[in-house]
């Protein structure tokens, strides 16, 4: 992300309403296009108002950025808008996320909502009523506008307003293309915008997808975009699950995401970390009202891995429950029917089997004895190329490895471990302070035990 830039996000609904006098395709397409054109004019009208969220400020972008609050005039830099936003007390979370903010490019985002002024003076006369009597189909929906622009924080408000209106118009254009492309008869699929943070130099991109069409059927579009943005063609960047998660929108499912980013780096001289890529959820004992204390650690590690594949867009299915995991093992013939409902442990072989059965993901199994340091190189390479979380089982415990680090000068090795044995609540402070997610030294390995590691492989797909 560009330093010195501010992100503005404009959301709102636009009413899409049109009358179809006939259902033949050319007519329908003409009417749809005309309706989008009319919406474009609406968006450029002087009656358009942008409401700055959590503030009493309103902007008229098509009147040169004129605003309600006296302190804001159109030639002030847009970063002044941030000072007018009334935030709730965020002192405690500020301290925690201070480190995170450097890495999180979307911190400090300015949210705006679309509104219209009904009292905007026009040249209209007293009201008239027109009765139309043509039979027609009325198509009606609301378009979920969601534009994101990144501008210099020193850019004036009036220019930024112009950029936002431009973004709205271009999104309408994208929506029109998607609507026409996927239309069947009078069924108009609602176009929905998604934001993606692509690797530099591309950055923030918004793509419109039709509602109801699964990712699997949108491969052609993604191929086009991958080549447009010069993205590698073997891993997903533009599936709906890859959509950017804005920091001001909490995850609704209650699981913690990537607790490891809140940790300090391992205390190693010249230590270079090799970490998991992307986003995973922390799954551990006692979650989902399942009391698996003492036997479910491998199941939880498997759930963490499944959550990774879901959030990177490889699969659409939800994270499997203990029941579903056991069911899958019975289905592949790995376990007998009596296994269902039991509290039997599973190991890395079973984890690999379930990943294959439920997610279509293949894994490499690695066998390590006596905490062999040689495995370090394999792990580092795994995080570089695949970047998936690793399930490690051995002795009587199962854990998840999220990364490794090695010091060139001292030769010391550290392992980033996510421990599924935690039985408490989703408290980030406790989890990081008490080491439930933390960097461990070689003492983590039992010298007398044998370990099996399951290294899930990314499917080659977009």
């Amino acid at each position: 992300m560009v330093v010195g830039n501010i992100i503005l996000r404009l959301r709102g609904s636009l009413e899409f309403k049109c009358q179809l006098d006939s259902t033949d395709v050319p007519h329908v397409q003409k009417v749809i296009s005309r309706t989008f054109e009319a919406l474009g004019s609406q968006v450029k009208a002087e009656s358009l108002v942008l409401s700055l969220s959590s503030s009493p400020v309103f902007l008229w972008p098509n009147k040169g950025g004129h605003a309600t609050a006296g302190e804001i005039s159109p030639n002030r830099p847009c970063k002044d808008l941030q000072q007018l936003i009334q935030t709730d007390d965020q002192e405690s979370s500020r301290k925690k996320s201070a480190k995170k903010d450097k890495n999180n490019p979307t911190a400090g985002i300015i949210n705006l909502t679309l509104m219209t002024e009904v009292t905007e003076p026009g040249v209209l006369s007293a009201p008239t009523l027109l009765r139309g009597s043509k039979k027609h189909h009325l198509l009606q929906t609301t378009l979920p506008m969601d534009c994101v622009v990144s501008v210099l924080s020193s850019e004036s408000i009036s220019v930024v307003c112009g950029t936002l209106v431009g973004a709205l118009c271009s999104q309408l254009g994208d929506m029109e293309k998607v609507a026409l492309r996927h239309m069947k008869g009078t069924a108009l699929l609602i176009p929905q915008p998604f934001h993606f943070l692509l690797p530099a130099p591309v950055g923030l991109v918004t793509v419109v997808y039709p509602a109801g069409v699964p990712d699997s059927q949108l491969e052609t579009q993604r191929k086009e975009l991958h080549s447009l943005f010069e993205l590698p063609d073997d891993r997903p960047y533009l599936r709906r699950a890859n959509a950017l998660h804005f920091p001001d929108e909490p995850y609704k499912d209650g699981y913690l995401r990537n607790p490891h980013v809140h940790l300090n780096h391992p205390a190693l001289e010249n230590g270079k970390p090799y970490l998991v890529q992307g986003v995973y959820s922390y799954h551990h004992y006692m979650q989902d009202r399942v009391d698996d204390n003492g036997w479910g650690c491998a199941y939880r590690s498997l759930q963490t891995i499944c959550s990774w594949f879901q959030q990177q867009g490889y699969v659409e299915r939800a994270v499997p429950s203990h029941k579903e995991i056991q069911q899958a093992l019975v289905e592949v013939g790995d376990k007998q029917g009596s296994f269902l409902g039991s509290r039997q442990w599973i190991g890395s072989i079973e984890v690999a089997a379930v990943l294959d059965q439920l997610l279509g993901v293949t894994s490499k199994i690695m066998f390590v004895s006596q905490g062999n340091a040689e495995c370090f190189r394999e792990l580092a390479n795994h995080f570089l190329s695949e970047g998936t979380p690793i399930m490690i089982g051995g002795g009587v415990l199962a854990h998840t490895i999220l990364g490794v680090a090695w010091s060139e000068t001292t030769g010391q090795i550290r392992y980033l471990i996510l421990d599924p044995h935690y039985t408490g609540a989703e408290d980030l402070q406790v989890i990081t302070d008490k080491g439930w997610c933390g960097w461990k030294g070689p003492e983590f390995w039992d010298q007398n035990a044998y370990y099996n590691l399951c290294l899930p492989q990314r499917p080659k797909t977009i």
């Binding site: 709102g12 609904s13 636009l14 009413e15 899409f16 309403k17 009358q19 609406q42 009656s47 108002v49 409401s51 009493p56 309103f58 309600t68 909502t113 679309l114 509104m115 219209t116 002024e117 009904v118 009292t119 905007e120 003076p121 026009g122 209209l124 006369s125 007293a126 009201p127 008239t128 009523l129 027109l130 009765r131 139309g132 009597s133 043509k134 039979k135 027609h136 189909h137 009325l138 198509l139 009606q140 929906t141 609301t142 979920p144 009078t186 069924a187 108009l188 699929l189 609602i190 509602a211 109801g212």
Partner: protein, 420 residues
């Protein structure tokens, strides 16, 4: 000889006492009560003003019967006035209405109030006091609202019978948007508790302050259900309501707050649109449906303002396209019993629409053309060839017996409730 009338004014709540300022004066002979007139009078009131009660003047022997009549009347008045209302009362709205009985012999005034929300409510005593000069400085809020509403006429509906239903449904949705919208006063979004007249010296020369209101609504309501496709409805037609309405609302001068201001102006916006639509539909019903009006833009009655004699307040009226200023003047005399010189009636607030577009396919258009022949600024005399439509309005108003008339006092009065 009985005399009766409606009390008009605005409610103002200060702490635990209700303090009202109302306009009342003597009226002429009144014989019977006609429900329609309550509504007509109510339509003449801009925002912030409403019918707050009724009065009756009787000889002493009818005093007892008068109380019963007043009670029945006050509930009937409220019922008819609130019938077509598109906005909802809030908890803060005062639902106490006033009944006033004046003995023709002794001039003794008996004042009672009833809570019209409760059909079983009993009379509460109240004090009727006269004050002077309180109405001269009611602050005024104005705005003009643009309309561009298209209401579908679903297949199962048939015009013109179902026109009222289709319009009502559509207007209900629009009214909710306005009710929920944000209101800026003089360009500012102020918190509801802010006093609008802050900074004025208490006994300073009362000058009427005008505030400009702006109403902001979301461009559309996000869908409630998780739909994947646009909804498709088969329709047999549509109704398009387009144009600009001029809105006005008054605030009482006793520490009006921003939230009262936003409430009264929004209600006026909603009322003015629903009133004229109702009037248009009533007129259509009476006239009988003419086939030629499909495909033709029909002009709804437009709003005109008339000053209240001796005060800086205005009431309003609606002028059909074939009417002229003298019709308005006549109506004001009938309803409110005061003389309004024709040139004091302001017809310039809402512009006259251009000649309506005519659907050439329909040949039964001549009748309408005639009706619209007087569609220009301010004809001093009625058109020389009075059309049926023009006639019907006149007979409509004249045919109604002079029922309840608005009464207006030269001086203001205030009403203080004795109850909590």
């Amino acid at each position: 000889m009985k005399t009766s009338g409606l009390l008009v004014g605005s409610h103002n709540i200060t702490q635990s006492k209700h303090c009202e300022q109302s306009l009342v004066s003597q009226s002429h002979s009144v014989i019977m009560y006609n429900n329609v007139c309550f509504l007509k009078v109510s339509r003449m009131l801009p925002g912030g003003m409403s019918v707050i009660g009724v009065f009756l003047v009787t000889p002493p022997e009818l005093s007892k019967e008068a109380q019963n009549t007043l009670r029945r009347l006050i509930f009937a008045v409220d019922k008819h006035i609130s019938k077509g209302r598109l906005w909802s009362l809030t908890e803060e709205d005062v639902t106490e209405k006033v009944t006033l009985h004046i003995c023709s012999k002794t001039r003794k005034v008996v004042c009672r109030t009833y809570d019209v929300r409760d059909p079983k409510s009993s009379a509460k005593p109240a004090d009727w006091k006269y004050q002077s000069g309180v109405c001269t400085s009611w602050p005024l809020l104005t705005c003009s609202v643009g309309l561009n509403l298209v209401f579908p006429v679903l297949e199962m509906h048939v015009l013109p019978q179902d026109m009222e239903k289709c319009m009502k449904e559509g207007l209900q949705t629009w009214a909710k948007q306005i009710e929920d919208g944000l209101c800026l006063i003089n360009g500012d979004a102020m918190p509801g508790e802010v006093e609008l007249l802050g900074g004025q010296k208490k006994n300073a020369k009362a000058v009427q302050q005008t505030f400009r209101a702006q109403i902001l609504i979301p461009m559309a309501e996000p869908q409630s259900e998780r739909r994947l496709t646009a909804s498709v409805k088969v329709c047999s037609g549509s109704l398009t309501l387009k144009g600009m309405v001029q809105c006005r609302a008054y605030l009482h001068s006793n520490k009006p707050r921003a939230k009262h201001a936003t409430e009264v102006i929004k209600r006026d916006v909603i009322n003015t649109v629903s009133s004229r639509v109702e009037m248009f539909l009533e007129d259509l019903l009476m006239e009988g449906e003419d086939k030629g009006s499909v495909g033709v833009q029909q002009v709804l009655p437009r709003r005109v303002f008339a000053p209240v004699p001796g005060m800086s307040l205005c009431v309003c009226d609606y002028m059909f396209p074939d009417e002229c200023v003298s019709d308005v003047s006549d109506r004001l005399k009938e309803m409110l019993d005061w003389e309004t010189p024709e040139d004091s009636i302001d017809t310039s607030q809402e512009a006259v629409p251009e000649a309506p577009t005519i659907d050439l396919k329909n040949t039964v258009v001549q009748k309408n053309l005639k009706a619209k022949s007087t569609l220009d600024a301010r004809p001093k005399t009625p058109s020389e060839d009075p059309t049926e439509a023009h006639k019907s309005h006149k007979t409509y108003y004249a045919g109604v017996a002079m029922a309840a008339a608005i009464a207006l006092l030269a001086t203001g009065t205030s009403l203080i409730y004795l109850s909590d």
